[in-house]
Amino acid sequence: MPAGTLYRGREGMWSWVAHRVTGVLIFFFLFVHVLDTALVRVSPEAYDDVVATYKTPLVALLEYGLVAAILFHALNGLRIVAVDFWSKGARYQKQMLWTVLGIWIVLMVGALYPVLGHAVREVFGS
């Protein structure tokens, strides 16, 4: 089957889509995160109450998703910088994307226990 075009439906397009989607998600979280942190100016109790929701198992899962989005956006962002500023960047963009995904998987496996460990202990008992 022919590959279509150099860009459409290939690594370049899908990494661009993923970069947009993760970027928008991170921006919306950032907005909420500044608001919740602003509660330290209201009272220690108000802040601790809201932070308590961040420690629930369900939100821990969302945090894992947030870490996934941030790590992909960060690593792929470095790839974009390399494509734009490194003379051989465009030639190796595909290899760099697979490198990005490889590092991303390793980091996501590494984040499993620190981010989700407490949630697993809470749901299944320690």
């Binding site: 022919p2 075009t5 150099l6 947009r20 970027g23 928008v24 991170i26 921006f27 950032l30 907005f31 500044v34 608001l35 942190t37 602003a38 330290v40 100016r41 009272s43 220690p44 802040y47 601790d48 932070v51 961040y54 420690k55 821990a60 945090e63 870490v67 941030i70 790590l71 960060a74 962002g77 470095l78 974009i80 910088v81 734009d84 500023f85 984040a111 620190p114 981010v115 460990g117 407490h118």
Partner: protein
């Protein structure tokens, strides 16, 4: 010997170019070419500086945000240890105040410029695009100022 039409100076991606001397490729006008009629106001390099800012701030943010994630979610018990006391302990140090301030400003401007691009790409009606961007700029200014105020006026003895 073949009598093919000479291929163009631009290398073919796949197959043989349909264009040649007798059948030239259509000329594509540059979409935003500056002419004498271009208004003075748009004769800046704003988009180039925005493009450069995304790359430079992005590199700095990789360090700031991944450090932030390590401190908040991984080290020293992960998310479980976060509370008012933990925030008070960190913001007692000017180093972490500057860290968080830089992260706030860079991340908000980086994100706002990213969303500006997304709005420009998908909102096709002039009015929709204008109001979505006004909403974005309002939310961005509000969030940056609120966050800055919180970092500078934080009081560990609020109670």
């Amino acid at each position: 010997m073949s009598t093919e039409t000479p291929t163009s100076a631009i290398g073919d991606v796949e197959g043989v170019s349909p264009y040649g001397v007798d059948n030239p490729a259509p000329v594509i006008e540059p979409p935003r070419q500056r002419t004498g009629k271009t208004p003075k106001g748009s004769r800046t390099n704003f988009e180039m500086y925005a493009w450069l800012f995304m790359r430079l701030s992005g590199i700095v943010l990789v360090v700031l945000v991944i450090g932030h994630l390590l401190i908040q979610l991984v080290l020293d018990g992960g998310v479980s240890k976060i509370g008012f006391a933990f925030v008070a302990g960190r913001w007692a140090s000017p180093f972490w105040q500057v860290w968080d301030l830089a992260m706030l400003w860079l991340a908000m401007l980086h994100g706002a410029n990213g969303l500006r691009t997304v709005i420009n790409d998908y909102a096709e009606r002039d009015n929709t695009r204008f109001w979505l961007k006004m909403l974005l700029y309002t939310a961005t200014v509000f969030t940056v100022l609120l966050g800055t105020l919180v970092i500078f006026t934080f009081d560990p003895n609020i109670r």
